[in-house]
């Protein structure tokens, strides 16, 4: 068959809308991400990038549309036929096991302050994956080694630099072996000289074939590391395509051109 070389769709976002009161944060957003793809979402603040990402692991609910990972709807299940199958929010237990299939790295790191670097990684492995603490410890050490922090396993977050904390955050997410990794402006809270070490880790994960969706303002990184770039504006997908197309200076998309121009002016 002709389509046999195409990797399967892993994440399928279909016509997702969401509003906070009178504000439409997401307006019928549709986007699919194939297995192994790295998709970067860019756009002005308030365009709904982070909200969209948070809908993917249901940290935020959405009003309509559907989000499926591996064909399975994330936050809702079909209701009973007598309610004409109206969707129902999954139970908290169900949601927890769905969320274990996605990993997320946050802008503010969000490490658990009372646990060591290794402890942060082990918590999900022992409590969610049911691994023994010895097994979890060796997985944690493996991933800490991968992000260059093998020697910091027993350090508390407060004893680590921002870049180190964020690398622990990445290790914590990937150690769970998620199907997809969500990266929410993970370098925005870092001092400029620490950005590189974090992006290097992301790059190596991409090389391993990890499926990723990331929101970032690092345009150069987005251009180099992404399979596709999505430009969001006013809660909708305004442009999507390979980095070279979307970031081209001669784009006919007015919003995108204005965004890129402003970006170049402030970042170079």
């Amino acid at each position: 068959m002709a389509s046999s070389n195409k990797p399967p769709v892993l994440l399928d976002i279909a016509e997702v809308s969401k509003s906070f009161g009178a504000v439409n944060v997401l307006r019928s957003v549709s986007l699919t991400v194939d297995k192994g793809e790295v998709v970067t979402i860019i756009g002005p603040s308030g365009s709904g990038k982070t909200t969209l990402l948070r809908c993917v692991n249901f940290l935020e609910s959405y009003d309509s549309g559907s989000i499926r990972i591996d064909g399975k709807e994330v936050g809702f299940r079909p209701g009973p036929a007598r309610d004409s199958g109206a969707r129902q929010r999954r139970s908290e237990r169900d949601l927890a096991s769905m969320r274990a299939e996605t990993g997320m790295v946050f802008q503010g790191f969000n490490l658990f302050p009372h646990l060591t670097a290794a402890g942060n990684i082990m918590l999900g492995l022992t409590k969610v994956r049911g691994k023994s603490s010895a097994e979890a410890r060796s997985i944690a050490e493996h991933w800490l080694g991968r992000v260059g922090l093998g020697h910091k396993a027993d350090s508390l977050p407060a004893e680590l630099s921002g870049g180190q904390q964020q690398r622990v955050g990445i290790a914590r997410a990937v150690a769970m072996e998620p199907k997809i990794l969500l990266l929410d402006e993970i370098t925005s809270a870092l001092d400029p000289e620490l950005v590189g070490e974090v992006l290097a880790v992301v790059r190596s994960l991409a090389e391993d074939g990890m499926t990723m969706v990331m929101v970032t303002h690092e345009m150069a990184f987005a251009r180099d590391a992404s399979s596709r770039i999505v430009f969001m504006a006013d809660g909708g997908v305004s442009a999507v395509g390979p980095p070279k197309e979307v970031l081209a200076a001669e784009t006919t998309n007015e919003r995108l051109r204005a965004f890129l121009a402003r970006f170049r002016a402030s970042h170079f």
Partner: protein, 221 residues
């Protein structure tokens, strides 16, 4: 005419004070332990409950905080048995009262601690797939403890001193022991000097121990 300090009579009856101090500590420990359970359960319930439950818990807290402890002690010891058919000792009565009293204060301490846990940490707990119960046990409560420990220590010290109110219903704790010695020896200055020193030293010892716990908690692996 001069008043000559004479501590001999105090030392002769020191067993009353020593026994009283031990009972004061016992009353405080038991009441606070029950109060912690009340406070934790209600605080966790409060932050996740609807308006009705919140209103009920808030009413309990407001009631306790606006009524003097001594009045509550009288109400529970003298008032309650005349209304309901219950028999209990003065000591039990006081422990129950101080437990309810400390519970109300601790609800407030724990509630503000729970609400101060950064949302990002709860998001992180959700993101790795922890259930609500696991998030409470492994993320929310440990972080809350770090936030509330200093306030908690102050509440404990204050509750320890509140055990002196038990003397009004003749529970033989430290203040009651002091009164007994005063009535029997008339060495009022000496006995209250000694007892003040005993409260002071014990209070400081408690504070020191709690600070050690705080430090241990901050650096625990």
């Amino acid at each position: 005419m001069g008043y000559t300090l004479n501590f001999n009579l105090i030392w002769r009856h020191f067993d009353k004070l020593w026994g009283g101090l031990l009972l004061s500590l016992e009353l405080a420990v038991i009441s606070i332990a029950i109060g912690i359970v009340i406070g934790l359960v209600l605080a966790v319930w409060y932050v996740s409950a609807g308006r009705v439950v919140r209103a009920i818990i808030a009413a309990y807290v407001e009631f306790i905080r606006n009524v003097p402890l001594i009045l509550l002690v009288y109400l529970v010891f003298y008032g309650l048995p005349t209304v309901v058919d219950l028999a209990y000792s003065a000591q039990t009565s006081f422990v129950a009262t101080l437990a309810l009293y400390s519970g109300a204060y601790l609800v407030e301490v724990f509630r503000s601690g729970l609400e101060a846990v950064p949302r990002g940490q709860l998001d992180a707990g959700k993101a790795i797939g922890l259930t609500p119960w696991q998030r409470l046990i492994h993320v929310r409560l440990p972080t809350m403890m770090r936030i509330t420990l200093p306030a908690l220590s102050n509440t404990f010290i204050s509750l320890f001193k509140d055990t002196s109110v038990a003397s009004v219903i003749s529970v033989p704790e430290l203040t009651y022991g002091a009164q007994w010695i005063n009535f029997n020896t008339f060495r009022i200055v000496e006995v209250y000097l000694v007892v003040t020193a005993m409260y002071l030293v014990t209070g400081y010892a408690l504070l020191f121990a709690l600070r050690l716990v705080e430090r241990w908690y901050r650096t625990a692996r």
